[in-house]
Assembly symmetry: C2
Homo-oligomer: 257 residues x 2
């Protein structure tokens, strides 16, 4: 199949790596170059694409994807030689306007990427795109649709809202796992005991709303159990338990109004 799109990727972090791996499997996309200051971090791609550490060597592509740390995007984009192809970043919480280039856009794959994972299937990962004109929106939409069946336009504020949502359901949820692990460890119980419940909670939200799925002493208003629980917790765990219990009960009151 003829390659329909040429792209290059800047960066060697989680997003850059996983994007490059998935792009290399698409017959419609050619990964022309990858750039990183430290080229050794791109060793796994040596035989698959051209690796460069000099921005003046960048060749023309349809889309140049900058997948680097959020706070480096602004200053890095100034260093790119004047070129007329579309340049996008991959960040949830950085405005499109942080890119100091002529043709700009955003290509935000909404997933938690960790290096530990060898291969990520992008098919179900939402990709949020943004650009300044209809042509570029279509270009990004077509490119993203090769990787994912869930491509949506989102402006910078919506993309940030989604990023915050991700912080709540991923970062904060994972931290609650850690809190629970500590409570179990203090009582000589294995974290493995919680794994079936964790799976069930994640499964349930696919078919029930979070309101329908809510169970436990807080939503039941079971003050006796809540007090028992608080007595077993240290000050730090207690603070989290009390705030989230209050928040669940507040939600209930608002719903019943």
């Amino acid at each position: 199949m003829k390659k329909q799109y040429k792209i290059s990727i800047i960066g060697a972090g989680n997003v850059a790596t996983h994007l490059a791996r998935t792009v290399l499997q698409q017959p419609q996309i050619e990964l022309l170059q990858m750039y990183n200051r430290n080229v050794q971090k791109l060793n796994e791609f040596l035989s698959a694409t051209e690796i460069i550490d000099d921005l003046s060597l960048l060749k023309p592509v349809d889309v140049l994807i900058i997948a680097i740390a959020d706070d480096a995007i602004h200053s890095f984009s100034k260093k790119i030689p004047t070129i007329d192809f579309l340049i996008v970043h991959t960040s949830g919480s950085v405005s499109i306007n942080d890119l100091q280039v002529d043709r700009k856009g955003v290509f935000y794959p909404f997933q938690s990427f960790s290096k530990a994972k060898k291969q990520i299937d992008f098919t179900d990962i939402p990709i949020l795109i943004e650009a300044e004109n209809q042509n570029d929106i279509e270009l990004l939409s077509n490119l993203a649709s090769i990787l994912s069946k869930n491509v949506q336009y989102a402006d910078s504020k919506q993309r940030q809202a989604l990023h915050i949502g991700g912080v709540f359901v991923a970062n904060f949820t994972n931290h609650l796992y850690l809190q629970a692990e500590n409570i179990l460890k203090d009582n000589n119980l294995s974290f493995d005991l919680l794994k079936p419940l964790i799976q069930e909670v994640a499964q349930k939200i696919l078919t029930l709303s979070s309101k329908q799925a809510q169970t436990g002493p807080a939503i039941r208003g079971d003050k006796r159990i809540i007090d028992k629980h608080l007595k077993m917790l240290n000050a730090h765990q207690k603070e989290i338990y009390e705030l989230l219990t209050k928040s669940i009960q507040q939600t209930k009151i608002n719903t019943e109004k």
Copy 2:
């Protein structure tokens, strides 16, 4: 196959219903009777077992399972006619000593049961058991092992710790889903966008520790992004965001010490 164990179940709530359904599928267990004050709530079991609303009709069994509301267990157990078979409750946060009977125990299936679910597979659900002598522990262990491949002994304090862990990973996590849903809704985004990430977070914890799996602005110490996020949140969301961010960062400091 000959029935090895006779049991009866008290109650018509989620736990009683799901326990009865799964027990009825086991050739080794006979469900002799089910009791509820309101027998109509047990209609689905009419053809499968004897339904009673009078405790004096209780027949001898190996184990009588009381699956009723936590705060009703103590007073209900006093009403049971003096009998010499093992009586257990199914609660995470109620002590074995709340049962005012001679032979007592606990049979705690650790899962979040909701009525919406038709059938629950108990095979992977941990069942925590407790009793006062070795014979009763063995009886409960054998009975539980027919339903689940994960049966463990836990004293009342351990069982409560597990229940608290469940509150963190299930009730609180589900409430974070609700918070995220509200943030997305305020920005005209569908909660569906979060579902792949939610699945990924739950999957990840099967192979990575919560510490290894932690990502996001809090653990990176990305103050710029955190401040951006806080600006988009209302007072209530902000309180949760700030406390959990602080808690993630505190954990990091403790780990690095």
